[in-house]
Amino acid sequence: MKTLVFIQIRDDKIEENTLGILNKIKTTIKGAEIIGALLGKDLKDEWIQELGLHGVQQVVTVTSPELEVYLSATYTKVMMEIINQVNPRFVVAAGTVYGEDLIPRLAVRSNTSCAQRFVDFMVEGDNIHFHTPVRDDQAMKITQVVGDIAFATSRPGAFFVDENPSGTNPEVTSVSVTFDDADRLVKHIEIKKAERTVNLKDAKVIVAAGRGVAGKENFQIIRELADLLGGQIGATRACTDVHWVEETYEIGQTGQSVSPDLYIAAGISGAPQHMSGVKAKTLIVINTDEGAPIINYADYAIIGDMHTILPILKEKLK
C-alpha cells in the first residue's frame, strides 16, 4: 500500500509523532511502500537518513524560501503536487496543529473526507479502518474513508517511536512548485517560542494546576506543594496562555511531555490535548466537578475546591 507521510520538523529535528506514525505503518501495513514528503527552506541530509532508518523508502523533497514556515496555502499546494505525482493510497500526518490544518484541505482538493486523531488503524482488505476516541474519550468510533485515496491524522502521543530502527537510505526525488500572490494572503508575522527553561521530562512528582487555579497568585500553593514533595510544578495551556505561570511549565501536545510517578492535577478538566502529554503512574485529581473528563483517568480523586483542599494537604504533609 503506497503511503505518503507528511514529515514534520520541529526544533531542527523530525517531530516525534511523525516518527511514531512511521513505526505504526511499518508494523501494521504489510509491504507498505512508505514515501515521506519533506518540505522546507533548507533540508538536512541527516533528516533524510533518519527517515530511511525509520522505514521511509522514498523521500520527496521540496525546498523554497517560502516553505520556511508552514502556511496553509503554500503547503497545501505543494502536497497536492506531490500527491498528483506519487498517487498514494493513503496520506497521513501526525495530528499536530499543522497536520490538522493540512490533511482536511488535501482531502477537499481530492473531493473526499478524512479521518482524524486516530489512536489505531487496521488494514481490512484494501481499506483502512481508523479508531478514534470521541466525546472526551467516552466512546471509540471506527471509520473508513471510501474511495481511492484515504486521508487521516493521528492523535498526538498515540504511537511510540521505534527505538531500534534498521532501515536503509531512501531514494530521494524532488519536486518544484512556484507560488503566486493568491498563496500569500495569510502573512506570517512571528512565532513566539515558549522558553523551555525547566525540563519536566525527568520529574518524578508534578503538581499541576489548570484554569481552576484562577490567578497568578494562587500558583504559590502549587509551588509550595511541589517543593514539599520534591517535585516540579506543571500547568495547562489555559494558565500559561494568560501568563499565570511561565510557559515552560505547559504540559501537553503543545507543551512538554511528562511521565512522573505521581501527577497531582488540580483544577484541570482533562482535555485530550493536555492528557496526551501526561503518562503518570499515579494520578491524583482535585476538581469541583465530578463530571470532568480527567476523573476518568484518575487513580484518586477528591471532588472539592482546590483552594481549600490543597492548603490542608500541605499542612498534613509537613
Binding site: V97, L102, C114, A139, M140, K141, I191, A194, E290, Y297
Partner: protein, 266 residues
C-alpha cells in the same frame, strides 16, 4: 462588519451516553443539549468584534438534535440573527458533507466579512470542518486562534502552536476557528438577550432551500463512513472521594494512599 458563526448542538459530554443513545436522540433530555463548547468560544469572538466595531452576527446551526435551543442561546448571548438548517436527509458526521452544507448556506446568506467556528465539534470529534470549509470557499483562514485583533488590513491572530504561539495576519473575508483560550471565554446570556431570543423567529432552511439534492448530503454520500461506535470501558478504578468536610477528604485520601503504598514525594 458581517460575521457568520457556525455552531453545533451536541449532547453535553457531561452526560455519559451508552452506545444506543448515540443513535437515538429522543432518549436525550433537552437539558442535556448544549452548544459545542468551542462553538460558544466562536460566538464570543464574534460578540467581542460586535462590541468594539459594531457587527451583524448571524449564528447558524445545522440540523443538530432539536436545534432551536442552541440558536436561541446564541441570540440570548448577543448574536443578531440565527438560521437553522434542517433536513432529515443531512448526514453531518462527515465533516466534508457538513462543510458542503455550510458553504451552501453561505451562498444563500450572501455577503460576509468573517466566518467563525469552534475548533472542534466534540460529539463526532471532528476538527476538520473549519479547514474544509475554508478550502471549499477558497478564502484565507487561520485555525486554533487564541486571540484576535482588528488591524487596517484585516485581522492579526495568535494561534496555538506546539512549543509556543504563532502570529499571522489575514485580510478581511477570512475564516477563523476559535479555541477555548481566555480571550474566547464565552459570556453569559443577558436578560435582554433572553427576551430577544424569545421573540426571535428563526428561519429554517432545508436542503432544497440551499439548492442541494438530498442525495448529495445524505449518509450514502458520505466519504467518511462510520463502521462502529462502542463505549470505551475504562479499566482504571478511581478511588472517588466526593463527600465529607475538606479535612476528612484529605485524611481519607492520605489513608488510602498509605494503604496502597503510594509514596507522596520524589
Amino acid at each position: 462588519m458581517k460575521i457568520v458563526v457556525f455552531i453545533q448542538q451536541i449532547v453535553s459530554t457531561q452526560v455519559k451516553l451508552q452506545g444506543v443513545d448515540y443513535f437515538d436522540a429522543s432518549r436525550v433530555s433537552d437539558d442535556d443539549l448544549v452548544i459545542n463548547p468551542t462553538g460558544k468560544n466562536a460566538i464570543e469572538g464574534a460578540l467581542k468584534l460586535k462590541d468594539s466595531q459594531g457587527a451583524e452576527v448571524t449564528a447558524v446551526c445545522v440540523r443538530g438534535i432539536k436545534p432551536n435551543k442552541a440558536l436561541k442561546e446564541a441570540i440570548a448571548m448577543g448574536c443578531t440573527n440565527a438560521i437553522e438548517i434542517a433536513d432529515e436527509a443531512f448526514y453531518t458526521d462527515d465533516p466534508y458533507l457538513l462543510s458542503k452544507i455550510y458553504a451552501k448556506a453561505l451562498d444563500k446568506i450572501g455577503d460576509y466579512d468573517l466566518i467563525l467556528l469552534g475548533v472542534e465539534e466534540q460529539s463526532s470529534s471532528s476538527y476538520a470542518a473549519p479547514a474544509m470549509l475554508a478550502e471549499m470557499l477558497n478564502i484565507p483562514s487561520v485555525l486554533t486562534a487564541e486571540e484576535m485583533e482588528i488591524i487596517d488590513s484585516g485581522f492579526r491572530i495568535g494561534h496555538v502552536l506546539e512549543g509556543g504561539k504563532k502570529i499571522v495576519e489575514v485580510p478581511q473575508k477570512a475564516l477563523v476557528s476559535c479555541s477555548d483560550s481566555q480571550y474566547f471565554i464565552p459570556r453569559y446570556t443577558t436578560m435582554r438577550g433572553i427576551l430577544a431570543a424569545k421573540k426571535a423567529v428563526i428561519p429554517v432552511w432545508s436542503a432544497a432551500d440551499l439548492g442541494l439534492e438530498t442525495s448529495e448530503v445524505n449518509a450514502d454520500a458520505a466519504s467518511l463512513k462510520q463502521i462502529s461506535l462502542t463505549n470505551i470501558v475504562i479499566e482504571k478504578e478511581t478511588f472517588l472521594i466526593n463527600e465529607g468536610e475538606p479535612e476528612e477528604m484529605v485524611d481519607k485520601l492520605l489513608a488510602k494512599l498509605k494503604e496502597d503504598e503510594i509514596k507522596l514525594g520524589a
